[in-house]
C-alpha cells in the first residue's frame, strides 16, 4: 500500500504491525514495572477488542465514549472503534457526572469504555437519562466485583468474546478495516468552551492523518521517538501527539503509572519529544529552584554561575549562531556539572524537541529551557484545526511570536485584526450544532479563531488578544489590554494588572503587587510594612514596579503596531483584587468593565494630571463583614526619557 492509501488509523496500525512488528508501540507502568506492547501485539489486542465490541453489537457509525486517564487499553478502545467504522469520543477524566451525561447523550454513545470504578459510578449515575447507552466496559476491575454485570463487562471478558467471534468470522476484522476511508469521521472531541455547552468538534481521518503527517515531516520525527502521554485523552493535543503522530511515525507512547507520578515517569522514560502547556514548564522550573535552595552553598553558587553562562550563550548555541571559544568551553563545563544533571532530573535529558502552546509562556521560562539546550518551541493551534495553525521552525524561535503557518495552512488577517485559517486539518462541523458551525466556518473553508494577531517583520504570527477584547486608542491605533497585562504579569512581583486605553488618548495601568514575592523582597531589604496597603504605598515598591513597566514599554515600542500603547501612567492599587468583591471571576480573570466602574475616580485620576489620588473603598472581609479602606495612591508618569534611564539600570 502506498503512504497515501494509508488514510485511516486502523490501516496505519496494520502497516506498523508489519513494518515495526517488534518495535515498542505502547508502554504502561504497572506494579512498578514498565510493561511494553509491540506494534504487532498492539494490533492483536485491538483486534480482539474490536471483535468483542462487534460481538456485543457495535456497528459502523456507532459511538464509543471513553473516559479515564491515559491507559493503553483506552487508547486501544479508540483504535478498536475506528477499526469497526465507529467513532470514539473521549471525555475529560475529571468531568462531573452531569457533564459526562451531556456528552453521552449529545454524542449518542452506545458503548462506554471507562477506566475504573470511579468512572463507572459516573456512568451508572446518569445511565437512566441516556437511553441509547447499551454496554459499559471497564479496564480496572477493582471494587466492581459486586456490581450488576448484565450490561457491564470486564475489558478482558470482551476480548475473550472477541476471540470467539474472530474464530467464527476470521475475515471480519480485515474487511472492516478496509472499508474505512479518509473522509470518514475519525473522532469527536468536545471542547470545554468558556460559555455555554461544550461543542463536539468532528474531525475526519483526513484532518488528523494529514495534519499528523505534516507535523512528523516538519520536525523529522521517526519511529525512535519516545513520548509520554500524560495530558487528557480528550484534548486534541494529546490526540495528535500521542495517537495520530505515533501511528504515522510508528513511535512508542508511554502511559504514566498514575497522574501523581508523571514527574518520576518522565525521568524514567526520558522522552525525546515532549509537549506541555506553559504551566507545566513553569512548575518544573519552580521545583528546580526550590530544590536548589535546599542544597549546599557551593552547589548553589555553581548553579547560579553556570546558569548565567547558559543564559548568555545557550540560546545562541541552540540557534547555531557563532559563539566565542571561551564561552563554548564554559558552556561545555557547565553542561557536565549543571545542565546535564539538571535536564536528567527534570526528565528532559533526551528531549530533542519540546512544544508548548495554549497560552503565552513567560520569556524567562522559555529562555531558561532554551539556554539549557532544550529545543522548546511554540505552536499556535485549535481543536478545530486538528491542532497546528502555526509552528516555529528550528532556528527561528522567538518568545513572543508563535511561528510561521504550518504546512498547507493558509492564514488571513481580517480588517478587525482577527486571524482566519484554512487547512486540510479544518474540522468537518460541530456535532449537531449547525448554527455554531456556520458562525466560525465560512462556505469556502475559512475558520475564525476569535484571536487578534498580525504577522511581524519576520513573517511570524503574533497573537495579542481575543478579538472582542481589542480596543482602539483615540488616535485609531490598536489597543490590546490582555497582551499588556500578560507581559506585566510575567514579572513575579506583579500579581494582577488592568490596562486601560480603549477610547482614551493613551494607555494606563492599575497594578496589584504579589504580596508574597514583594513581601520577601521587602524583608530582604529591611523595608517595614504591616499590610498590603502599606507595602503597596512604599516608594521603593513603586520604583520596583516602575522598572518592570519600563521594561514592558521597551518591548512595546519596538513593535510598530503596539508602540502607541506604551504605558504612560500607572499606579499600584491599594487593595488586592478579589473574586469576593466581584473584581475577578472565580477563575481569576480580571473583570475590566466592573473595575473601570468601581474605581472610576482612580481611572479619572490616571487620565488627569495629578500625581496622587485619594481613595475610599468598600471591602468584604473573609468573615463577611465589610469595611472601608482609605488612602492616597501615588501615580507615576513614565516619560520615554526616564524610561531609557531606568531600563539601562535594570539591564
Amino acid at each position: 500500500m502506498t503512504e497515501q492509501a494509508l488514510d485511516t488509523f486502523p490501516k496505519l496500525l496494520q502497516r506498523n504491525a508489519e513494518r515495526f512488528a517488534d518495535r515498542p508501540a505502547i508502554r504502561e507502568k504497572d506494579l512498578g514495572i514498565w510493561q511494553t506492547w509491540t506494534w504487532e501485539q498492539m494490533l492483536h489486542e485491538v483486534r480482539l477488542l474490536a471483535c468483542g465490541l462487534a460481538a456485543r453489537g457495535f456497528k459502523r457509525g456507532d459511538t464509543l465514549a471513553i473516559i479515564g486517564d491515559n491507559r493503553p487499553r483506552l487508547y486501544w478502545g479508540m483504535a478498536a472503534a475506528q477499526c469497526l467504522g465507529g467513532v470514539p469520543v473521549p471525555a475529560y477524566q475529571d468531568a462531573a457526572a452531569e457533564e459526562f451525561q451531556f456528552l453521552l447523550e449529545h454524542a449518542s454513545a452506545k458503548f462506554v469504555l471507562a477506566e475504573d470504578q470511579e468512572q463507572v459510578d459516573k456512568v451508572l449515575e446518569v445511565q437512566e437519562r441516556c437511553p441509547v447507552l447499551e454496554e459499559i466496559i471497564y479496564d480496572e476491575r477493582r471494587g466492581l466485583r459486586n456490581y450488576d454485570h448484565t450490561h457491564m463487562h470486564d475489558f478482558e471478558a470482551i476480548q475473550a468474546q472477541g476471540r470467539e467471534f474472530l474464530e467464527k468470522n476470521p475475515g471480519f476484522f480485515d474487511e472492516q478495516v478496509a472499508m474505512g476511508k479518509g473522509s470518514d469521521t475519525s473522532i469527536i472531541l468536545y471542547t470545554s468552551g468558556t460559555t455555554g455547552r461544550p461543542k463536539g468538534v468532528v474531525l475526519s481521518y483526513d484532518n488528523m492523518v494529514i495534519t499528523a503527517r505534516h507535523g512528523v515531516e516538519f520536525d523529522s520525527l521517526t519511529e525512535n521517538e519516545e513520548v509520554l502521554a500524560y495530558l487528557p485523552m480528550a484534548w486534541v493535543g494529546d490526540h495528535l501527539f500521542s495517537y495520530a503522530q505515533a501511528y504515522v511515525a510508528g513511535f512508542c507512547v508511554s502511559c504514566p503509572e498514575s497522574p501523581a507520578t508523571v514527574m518520576d515517569d518522565l525521568r524514567e522514560i526520558g522522552p525525546t519529544f515532549f509537549f506541555a502547556p506553559p504551566r507545566i514548564f513553569e512548575n518544573l522550573l519552580t521545583q528546580v529552584h526550590i530544590r536548589m535552595d535546599d542544597t549546599a552553598r557551593i552547589k548553589q553558587a555553581a548553579f547560579h554561575y553556570f546558569m548565567g553562562v547558559a543564559r548568555k550563550v545557550g540560546p545562541a548555541i541552540l540557534r547555531g549562531a557563532s559563539v566565542g571559544l571561551l564561552d563554548r568551553i564554559k558552556y561545555a563545563v557547565g553542561y557536565i556539572l549543571v545542565y546535564g544533571p539538571l535536564k536528567d532530573t527534570m526528565g528532559m535529558g533526551r528531549v530533542r524537541l519540546a512544544y508548548t502552546a495554549g497560552e503565552a509562556i513567560g520569556p524567562d521560562i522559555f529562555d531558561f529551557y532554551r539556554s539549557l539546550g532544550i529545543n522548546i518551541k511554540q505552536l499556535y493551534g485549535q481543536t478545530e484545526a486538528a491542532v497546528n495553525i502555526t509552528l516555529q521552525p528550528d532556528g527561528e524561535v522567538y518568545p513572543d511570536t508563535v511561528g510561521r503557518p504550518a504546512p498547507e495552512v493558509e492564514i488571513r488577517i481580517t480588517d478587525e485584526g482577527e486571524v482566519l485559517y484554512r487547512s486540510p486539518g479544518v474540522f468537518q462541523c460541530y456535532h449537531k450544532n449547525e448554527e455554531a458551525t456556520r458562525e466560525v466556518k465560512t462556505e469556502d473553508g475559512w475558520v475564525r479563531t476569535g484571536d487578534a494577531g498580525y504577522f511581524d517583520a519576520n513573517g511570524h504570527l503574533k497573537i495579542i488578544d481575543r478579538v472582542k477584547d481589542v480596543g482602539r486608542l483615540n488616535d485609531g491605533s490598536m489597543f490590546a489590554p490582555k497582551y499588556i497585562e500578560n507581559k506585566l504579569k510575567f514579572f513575579p512581583h506583579v500579581r494582577e494588572a488592568v490596562a486601560f486605553g480603549h477610547e482614551r488618548d493613551y494607555c494606563t495601568v492599575m497594578i496589584n503587587i504579589d504580596l508574597e514575592a514583594v513581601g520577601n523582597w521587602a524583608e530582604r531589604r529591611n523595608i517595614p510594612y504591616s499590610s498590603y496597603q502599606e507595602l503597596a504605598a512604599r516608594p521603593e515598591v513603586n520604583d520596583l514596579v516602575e522598572e518592570s513597566v519600563a521594561r514592558v514599554n521597551a518591548d512595546l515600542v519596538e513593535d510598530e503596531k503596539l508602540a502607541p500603547s506604551r504605558i504612560q501612567r500607572f499606579l499600584i492599587l491599594h487593595k488586592e483584587l478579589d473574586a469576593d468583591d466581584g473584581e475577578l471571576t472565580r477563575t481569576r480573570k480580571v473583570r475590566r468593565g466592573f473595575i473601570a466602574d468601581k474605581y472610576k475616580e482612580i481611572v479619572d485620576a490616571l487620565y488627569g494630571g495629578r500625581s496622587s489620588c485619594h481613595v475610599e473603598t468598600q471591602v468584604t472581609y473573609e468573615d463577611g463583614r465589610t469595611g472601608t479602606l482609605a488612602g492616597d495612591l501615588e501615580i507615576r508618569d513614565l516619560s520615554p526619557a526616564s524610561e531609557k534611564e531606568s531600563f539601562r539600570k535594570a539591564s
Binding site: K29, D30, L31, G32, I33, R142, G143, R145, N146, E257, S258, A260, T261, D264
Partner: protein, 263 residues
C-alpha cells in the same frame, strides 16, 4: 454503599476481659466476637477503653482476667510478634511508621511474618533469599497499586503529609496479608476527601481480600456506613452490641454519647 452481610464463623472472641492499670479499671468484663469477613466497629466516648481493647487483641496488653479465642484456639499472654505471625495486623492512632525509611521499605517490613529464609541466607543476600525478596516485592507493589501511592514509593515517610502516612501504615498492615486487620482511628485528623478515600480502601480491602476488619472510629457517619456490627464501650464496659441500626436506637448508647451522668 454499606457492606453486605457476608459474615461467617467466629474468627476471634474475647470473653470476660478485665484489665486494670494500677487501680484504674480500663476494661471490665468485656465480651464480644468478630466474625470472618465482617467489618466490626468498636466505638465509645473518649476513655471508654477502645484502644486498650485493641492492644489486648494484638498482644501489647495482657488482661488480668479473661480469655481470647482466635481461630478456635484460646491463648494466654501471647507476645505481639507472635500475634502478628498468626495473622493479626494493625495500624495505630498516632501513626507508628518507620519514619526514616521509604514507603517501599516500610511496606516491605509488613512482609516480615511471611518471610521464611533463615538468617544465614539473609546475611548472604543470595540464593533463596534473593528470590524470596523479589516475590515479596511483587506483592508489595500490588499493595502500592491498590492504595494508589505509586508517587511516594521512594519517599521517606517522615516527609509525607499526615493523610499519606496513614495510607502507608495501612499498606504495611495489608502487606502481612492479615486475617484480622485492626484499625485504630484510621480517619482521625483527616479531611473529608481523605476520609472518603480511607473508607473506600477499608471497604475494598474487605471485599477484595476478604479481610476481617475491626476498627475504632469516632466519626459516627463513617462507622454506621461501613460496618456490619458495632460494639459500644463506655467506662470500660460493653453497653451495646449489634447492627448499626440497633446500636443507633439504643438508649444507653444515646445517654453515653450525650454524657448523661452515671448512677
Amino acid at each position: 454503599m454499606s457492606a453486605q452481610n457476608n459474615c461467617g464463623d467466629v474468627l476471634l472472641a474475647v470473653d470476660n476481659i478485665n484489665m486494670a492499670f494500677g487501680g484504674v479499671k480500663a476494661l471490665e468484663g468485656v465480651s464480644f466476637d468478630i466474625r470472618e469477613g465482617e467489618i466490626r466497629a468498636i466505638i465509645g466516648p473518649n476513655g471508654a477503653g477502645k484502644s486498650s481493647m485493641l492492644n489486648v487483641i494484638n498482644g501489647f496488653y495482657h488482661p488480668q482476667e479473661g480469655t481470647i479465642t482466635y481461630k478456635g484456639e484460646t491463648r494466654h499472654r501471647m507476645k505481639p510478634h507472635l500475634v502478628a505471625a498468626s495473622g493479626v495486623a494493625r495500624t495505630f492512632q498516632n501513626i507508628a511508621l518507620f519514619k526514616g525509611m521509604s514507603t517501599l521499605d516500610n511496606i516491605m517490613t509488613g512482609r516480615n511474618t511471611k518471610m521464611g529464609c533463615n538468617v544465614l541466607w539473609q546475611a548472604l543476600h543470595f540464593g533463596p533469599a534473593r528470590n524470596e525478596e523479589i516475590r515479596h516485592r511483587e506483592y508489595v507493589e500490588y499493595i502500592i497499586d491498590f492504595l494508589e501511592i505509586q508517587s511516594i514509593r521512594n519517599t521517606q515517610v517522615g516527609r509525607l503529609p499526615y493523610g499519606m502516612q496513614k495510607r502507608v501504615e495501612l499498606g504495611r498492615a495489608l502487606a502481612a496479608e492479615p486475617d484480622l486487620l485492626l484499625l485504630d482511628e484510621p480517619m482521625a485528623g483527616m479531611n473529608v476527601e481523605e476520609k472518603e478515600d480511607m473508607c473506600r480502601f477499608a471497604l475494598d480491602v474487605n471485599e477484595e481480600f476478604g479481610t476481617t476488619i475491626a476498627l475504632i472510629e469516632h466519626d459516627m457517619g463513617v462507622v454506621m456506613d461501613i460496618s456490619n456490627r458495632v460494639v459500644v464501650l463506655d467506662y470500660g464496659k460493653k453497653i451495646a452490641d449489634g447492627t448499626p441500626d440497633e446500636v443507633r436506637s439504643n438508649q444507653d448508647v444515646i445517654d453515653a454519647y450525650l454524657g448523661v451522668s452515671h448512677d
